[in-house]
Amino acid sequence: MLINKAKCWMRMAAVGLAALCAGNQAWALQFGSAPVVSTTAIPQTGLISPEQLIAAMQKNRQEAPLVIQVGSRMMFDQGRIPAAVFAGPAVQPEGIDLLRNRVASLPRSKFIVIYCGCCPWSRCPNIGTAYQFLLGMGFKNLKALYLPNNFGMDWVAKGYKVEK
């Protein structure tokens, strides 16, 4: 278990190192949290828009994605994408632990969409970190929901369905 955990972090660090955001990196070092991977580490092909996600969620259960929120519990409790599951801030070790547990038993071909929306896209510490972590676990059918401003402005205020 520990070896797997270490392997996963190492793979993640290798992929994401070049994309470390200087500001977030300093902060991570300061507060002893997980290495932060910038959103710039996510390729264009790894993004999904709210409209595309809504369309994907209409598909049958097998094809529909598992939607995982990788932001704060407080935000998740206030409102979330319907049927989304909570994993917690990926920048924090406990968030990564929960994320790993959420997906550990899933086939690596499972369609997964992660979202955060805590902050403006380029400043979000969680989404790039979670993306690289899941890639490191071997998930290939992985998308990050592109929310340029935040979940409030790009999902809630647009009238897309919110579950409480």
Binding site: F31, M74, Q78, G79, P89, C119, R123, K158, G159, Y160
Partner: protein, 158 residues
């Protein structure tokens, strides 16, 4: 498809709009001491929602601290509400930044009272009569916001 997109009312609809009374609240600061919004009646309040993992918040907080020092005698009160799940982390950052205004522990109910805090930072400017005068979400021009604060400080208490 259409129903899925359009049936739900936006969750922000319940929050205070500009021109409406700011929802009063009772909370605790990060050290457990009770704090209420009413304590600061008659002051111009800058109410900021933040979290340790929010990059723009880390830029704003020291700036708000400078405003608190500069405009305190004119009646400004900054209140910061942490939306962190982990209060210890919020307290550690507050201690590190040496901020001189109340740092409160938020919760989802308080967030919902203010229209849902679905992204950070969010800042409300509340006038001396307790009326919301501005809501700012996301990264903002702090110079411009300071001008708005100055304007409110010059307005008399009705």
């Amino acid at each position: 498809m259409l129903g899925w997109c359009c049936l739900a009312a936006p969750a922000q609809a319940a929050g205070p709009r500009v021109g409406q009374k700011a929802p009063v609240f009772a909370a605790h600061n990060l050290y457990g001491k009770p704090v209420t919004l009413n304590q600061f009646r008659g002051k111009v309040i800058l109410l900021n929602f933040w979290a340790t993992w929010c990059g723009p918040c880390r830029v704003e907080l020291p700036r708000f601290d400078a405003w608190q020092a500069r405009y305190s005698a004119d009646g400004l009160q900054v209140l910061a509400i942490s939306m962190d799940d982990n209060r210890d982390q919020a307290r550690a950052m507050a201690d590190r930044l040496h901020l001189h205004f109340p740092m409160l522990a938020g919760n989802s109910r308080l967030g919902a009272a203010y229209g849902g805090i679905f992204g950070l930072p969010v800042t409300y400017l509340i006038d001396r009569d307790g009326i919301v005068r501005k809501r700012v979400e996301g990264e903002t021009n702090l110079d411009q916001l300071e001008v708005e604060v100055q304007k409110l400080l010059h307005e008399p208490h009705r």
